[in-house]
């Protein structure tokens, strides 16, 4: 009986956005009389950082500080349509919709500022700190908040914008089968080291190292959060989590946190990641989608590492101690024969 080590790797190409005829997301942007810019949509913040990312994108496009943007989202009764917060599509889809809406609102804001400063809107720039000024003449400047208020109270203009992102449906070529089914692809590769106890069948993940190519990172700290969380989810799926009965009777199925086992803090290995940023042509400021893919490559990488350690060929998940011990038994039989 021994503790055997092995290394495994796996890679993933993750497509974002479906072009088969309808995957739209909409956004609206409007200035309030206090000078903040509200982004309204229906995509859901669930901890992944959607509101932060979309506020960054809106602020960048409007040319105002991040603090001036409020993201009001998550109510599908009243918000503009979103096709769903899933499939790693929201930064890409909602991000593009927010850019379109913010561009329209920005133009409206510059038109009002142009009237106030008696210049052409084409000569105006934003400084990203909350001011609008004449190109090259910083003194000829107005706070964006003042322009927002004047738009409503003096000029009768609604500083607002509408945005939707819906790429045209891609039809399959009947001859070749060719189509353009998605908007962009992100890539990753994960290398895992494991140690397997051949007496108990227990597997320990020692390290999990990945390279991610995900287009431009809108928010690197949130990207890291996704990757570390996804590594943990991958370990859960590879080694522990299943709703199937452990033995062939349905009442042995796990039904709660006490017997649906997930990894805890002590099961986490060292997690390292390198990021490559090859901007996507279709994504907002070059972004792709880094959501679901973070739990993809770790799973086969872990199974491959176990197979490498034991010289077996396990092809199922989760690789519970029982699965390990059965594979070892089978190998012993085959070796003996």
């Amino acid at each position: 009986m021994a503790k055997l080590r092995g290394t495994g790797m796996a890679a993933v190409n993750y497509p974002t956005g479906m072009h088969l005829g309808g995957d739209p997301t909409m956004a609206l942007v409007h200035a309030t009389s206090s000078g903040s810019f509200v982004v309204t949509l229906s995509s859901v913040e669930l901890g992944q950082g959607l509101k932060t990312v979309l506020a960054q994108i809106a602020a960048e496009t409007l040319g105002v500080p991040l603090e001036a943007v409020v993201v009001d989202t998550g109510d599908t009764d009243t918000g503009p349509h979103c096709s769903g917060t899933g499939a790693s599509r929201t930064t890409h889809r909602a991000g593009n919709a927010v850019i379109a809406a913010a561009k329209e609102a920005r133009q409206e804001m510059l038109d009002v500022a142009a009237e106030m400063l008696e210049v052409s809107a084409d000569d105006l720039v934003t400084d990203g700190k909350g001011n609008i000024h004449v190109k090259g003449v910083v003194e000829k400047s107005l706070p964006a908040a003042e322009v927002a208020a004047a738009g409503q109270f003096v000029y009768g203009k609604s500083i607002s914008g509408r945005g939707i992102f819906l790429p045209p449906a891609s039809k399959q070529d009947p001859e070749t089968g060719e189509s353009a089914p998605y908007s962009t692809q992100a890539h990753a590769c994960t290398v895992v080291e494991v140690e397997v106890d051949t007496e108990t069948g227990a597997v320990r993940v020692l390290s999990l190292k990945s390279v991610y190519e995900i287009g431009r990172q809108v928010n690197p700290e949130l990207v890291k959060g996704q990757i570390v969380g996804g590594a943990w989810m991958g370990i859960g799926h590879a080694l522990y989590e299943t709703t199937a009965p452990y033995y062939p009777a349905i009442d042995h199925a796990p039904y709660d946190f006490l017997n649906y086992v997930i990894p805890g803090a002590a099961e986490m290995p060292e997690v390292q990641c390198e990021i490559l940023e090859y901007p996507s042509e279709t994504g907002p400021y070059g972004a792709k989608g880094v959501g679901e893919m973070v739990a993809n490559a770790p799973i086969p990488a872990i199974v491959n590492a176990i197979n490498n350690a034991l010289d077996v060929c396990i092809g199922e998940i989760p690789v519970t101690p029982e699965v390990v011990l059965r594979a070892l038994e089978e190998k012993a039989r085959a070796d003996g024969a």
Partner: protein, 171 residues
């Protein structure tokens, strides 16, 4: 089962509670006492740690605590502790280390860390893992939480040096 009236100190206030023998502290905190919703309900059976509270300074799972047994004791939820210096340092460490995503586990985590650091101001790596073992997190992968605990321990016990170090990191 007959209903019973008892008094309980919650977040520094004496409260009068109506309960029966099976009413849990979690039900009282969430439903009877003006929505103390930092007390989460992840499983109602002791499996997730999201309902953690402090009873006379000790960490309890409120979903497993029959409130009838707690007459006269002092219960603290995160709402009641949020002004204290210790909690502020732990919260700031969670923020600086991105140790919360959806936030569902976070109140229970913070109280667990508070109880740990009150009892053991300089915990080892393994002691931190042990302390967190009853708290599930579905989002972060735990590593940022472990870092936050180490950071909070340094802030709370390291004095000026640690404070300078953590200011340097923020800057």
């Amino acid at each position: 089962m007959t209903a019973k009236i008892l008094s309980l100190n919650v977040n520094g206030r004496d409260e009068t509670i109506l309960c029966d023998g099976l009413t849990t502290l979690q039900e009282v905190l969430r439903d009877q006492l003006g929505l103390l919703t930092s007390v989460k309900d992840g499983c109602t059976q002791g499996g997730c740690g999201s309902c953690s509270v402090l009873v006379d300074g000790e960490l309890w799972l409120s979903c497993l605590a029959p409130v009838a047994a707690l007459a006269g004791r002092a219960v603290m939820t995160l709402e009641g502790l949020k002004q204290s210096a210790g909690i502020a340092a732990i919260q700031q460490s969670f923020i600086d280390n991105s140790a919360a995503q959806c936030g569902f586990c976070t109140p229970g985590m913070i109280l667990t860390v508070k109880a740990l650091l009150d009892a053991n101001p300089e915990p080892s790596h393994d002691e931190i893992l042990e302390a967190l073992s009853g708290n599930l997190c579905r989002c972060t992968g735990y590593l940022p939480i472990v870092e936050a605990v180490k950071d909070a321990a340094a802030r709370l016990s390291g004095g000026a040096d640690a404070a300078r170090a953590s200011e340097g990191r923020e800057g």
